[in-house]
């Protein structure tokens, strides 16, 4: 008799939920409840959380531009790796296609550069 191959996954899920529920429950029952200011603050990887972003709650748009630019190159890498692995099988076709693809990425980059997207201030 062969068991359903998904049963181990179900067991993992059950253990995961059980562990989470047990930990939270046991901490609530046995843990001392002594709060101070630092404990109640949002966890921010060591940075002091500021009340709000500068300039009246608006996040500066430059972060957004940097993030968008990062995504452009991130996507490029996503395609470059599999192409590099199968380069010998795809041959000249792959090379030309990848050159076109990188060309289009650089068009986007040129646009950002010329329109001042790389100037921080």
């Amino acid at each position: 008799m062969s068991a359903n191959p998904y049963i181990p996954i179900l067991v993992i899920f059950a253990i995961g939920f059980g562990f989470a529920a047990f930990s939270v429950g046991i901490a609530a029952v046995t843990g001392p409840a002594r709060y101070n200011r630092a404990k109640l603050e949002a966890y921010e990887c060591g940075i002091e959380p500021s009340p709000q972003a500068l300039q009246g709650g608006r996040f500066p748009v430059k972060y957004f531009l940097t993030a968008m630019l990062f995504i452009v190159f991130d996507i490029e890498i996503v395609f470059l790796y599999p192409w590099a692995v199968t380069f010998d099988k795809l041959g000249l076709f792959g090379l030309v296609e990848m050159a076109i693809f990188i060309g289009t990425v650089f068009v986007a980059y040129a646009y950002v550069w010329r329109r001042g997207g790389l100037e921080w201030d």
Partner: protein, 505 residues
């Protein structure tokens, strides 16, 4: 696992590649071109690439293959007709977009901020709208010819993302324009998620993402029908959202109203052609043999869409919102062609899409002309008496409204007649009755606007009709001429569609 280099049929992909190439050149012009000449060069590149794409399409019009791009793109008669329609509509819309008076100076500026005032003083122009248009057109060209679900999704995003941005470019009423862009984006992203979910279910059902593979699984009947039903339902939600069918229509009045009018015309006409092209292909090719599973739901949606669009349009006080609800009603009529699931239904749908798209671009072109000192006037009350002051413009608008209503001697009549007779032939009597009734309701509010323009006294509040630019005149003249010719001599186009419209399987 072996990898082989894909084989592409570049001649059949050429229209899309040309449009994309034009868009990339447009982005480079934005980056490197001198500001003073940007508008002229962008307009030239856009028009040139659309015309070149059309020429490339004409060159391959008699070809058909399932292997244009490794089974992801099916090239056939229906695809050629739909792509041609999209290119013609795009070209006419670009002439309207060329009237840059309607576009914001700096889209990123906060409304009412000092940056915005400064950019207005510098007389900046958002010439990015041209490459965005071309990107959207490329997505629209791909949408109705994609024959697998992944390509379908990529094409959907390619046409949607530029449109979200373009909706926010209105020069006046910036807040409303930005609100409409955000609404469109959020709801569009939501519906894309539905579509993707449907793709996952259909893959689970058939172990294939191609339309042919799904069709084979349905014919074989070995899969789990629950997955098939869920897949069809979710995919339909994603596609029906794009055409604005009830109950997925909520975005369209707001977006139609907030977007710059030239963009609204482009969006209303070209998106509808592309999305209905995709709906026709997926339902005629992939889901045809599961007819009994989707037909009842789609019949219900079609009837509700027709009736809702027609009834709610009556209460609208804004001309762009009224046209939005009218386009919802037209989406319902077009769904009748999808439900017919026959050759005559396909022919009628393609004719209807062409006729409706052309008339829509023309109608929104007329709306751009009625202005006061603060920009376009879209409040219908202020349109009263327009026929006495500008008889020509009012007559042309009245003509487009009659075409939407489906009065004889306009293309709308031929379109409605052929689509309803296709529905009747296949026995969808409920659709036929609902269609004719809602057409009658719709005629009421179209004719009410005509009465308002011609038989009411003009209001003295500075509303006037501007002298249109040469390009806008061209668009309005060409669209009204096509609408008239298709109403009087529809036979050549109908015969052409009949002889060439088919879906390759």
């Amino acid at each position: 696992m072996t990898f082989t280099a894909p084989v592409l049929n570049y001649a059949q992909l050429a229209p899309m590649l040309i449009v994309l190439g034009g868009a990339l050149i447009g982005v480079l012009i934005e980056a490197f071109g001198p500001r003073a000449s940007r508008h002229a060069s962008q307009l030239f590149i856009t028009v040139a690439s659309l015309v070149a794409a059309f020429a490339a399409l004409v060159r391959v019009r008699n070809q058909s293959s399932v292997d244009a791009a490794m089974g992801s793109v099916g090239f056939d008669g229906a695809g050629v007709l739909l792509q041609g329609t999209i290119l013609i509509i795009a070209l006419l819309s670009v002439f309207l977009i060329a009237d840059q008076e309607n576009f914001t100076a700096l889209a990123a500026a906060v409304p009412g901020s000092s940056e915005e005032r400064e950019s207005l003083q510098l007389d900046l122009r958002v010439t990015e709208v041209y490459p965005l248009t071309l990107f959207a057109v490329a997505g629209m060209l791909l949408f109705p010819v994609s024959t697998d679900l992944i390509t379908l999704f990529v094409a959907l995003e390619m046409l949607s993302l530029p449109l979200y941005l373009m909706a926010g470019l209105s020069r006046r009423r910036r807040l409303m324009s930005q609100e409409s862009a955000l609404k469109y984006f959020l709801l569009g992203a939501f519906s894309s998620a539905f579509l993707l979910f449907g793709v996952a279910y259909l893959y689970g059902y058939s172990n294939s993402v191609t339309f042919a593979g799904i069709q084979a699984s349905i014919t074989g009947g070995s899969g789990n029908d629950v997955f098939l039903l869920l897949g069809i339902a979710f995919i339909s939600v994603g596609l029906l959202f794009k055409v604005g069918a009830v109950p997925f229509h909520a975005w369209s009045p707001d977006v139609y109203q907030g977007a710059p009018t030239a963009i609204t015309g482009f969006m209303a006409a070209a998106t509808k052609v592309a999305a209905f092209g995709a709906i026709l292909r997926i339902f005629y090719v992939a889901f045809a043999n599961a007819e009994w599973q989707w037909k009842p739901a789609l019949v219900l949606i079609a009837i509700v869409t027709m009736v809702f669009g027609s009834v709610v349009a009556i209460t609208q006080r804004d001309v762009k919102r009224m046209l939005a609800y009218s386009s919802i009603a037209h989406a319902g009529f077009l769904l009748a062609g999808v439900i017919a699931l026959s050759k005559s239904g396909l022919d009628a749908s393609i004719f209807y899409l062409f006729a409706y798209g052309i008339a829509t671009v023309g109608a929104f072109g007329v709306v751009t002309l009625v202005r006061d000192s603060a920009g376009e006037v879209t409040d219908l009350n202020r349109w009263s008496g327009l026929g006495k002051r500008s008889p020509l413009v009012a007559s042309v608008f009245a003509f487009f409204l009659l075409a939407f209503a489906g009065i004889p001697l306009t293309s709308g009549f031929i379109g409605k007649f052929s689509i309803f007779s296709a529905a009747y032939e296949t026995g969808s009597t409920a659709i036929l009755i609902a269609g004719v009734l809602s057409s009658a309701i719709a005629a009421f509010f179209y004719i009410r606007v005509i009465v308002l323009m011609f038989f009411k006294d003009p209001v003295e509040d500075g509303t006037s009709v501007v002298i249109p630019s040469a390009l806008t005149t061209t668009t309005i003249a060409v669209t009204s001429l096509i609408t008239l010719i298709l109403g009087i001599f529809p036979a050549p186009l109908i015969n052409f569609i009949e002889s060439s419209a088919f879906f390759i399987r």
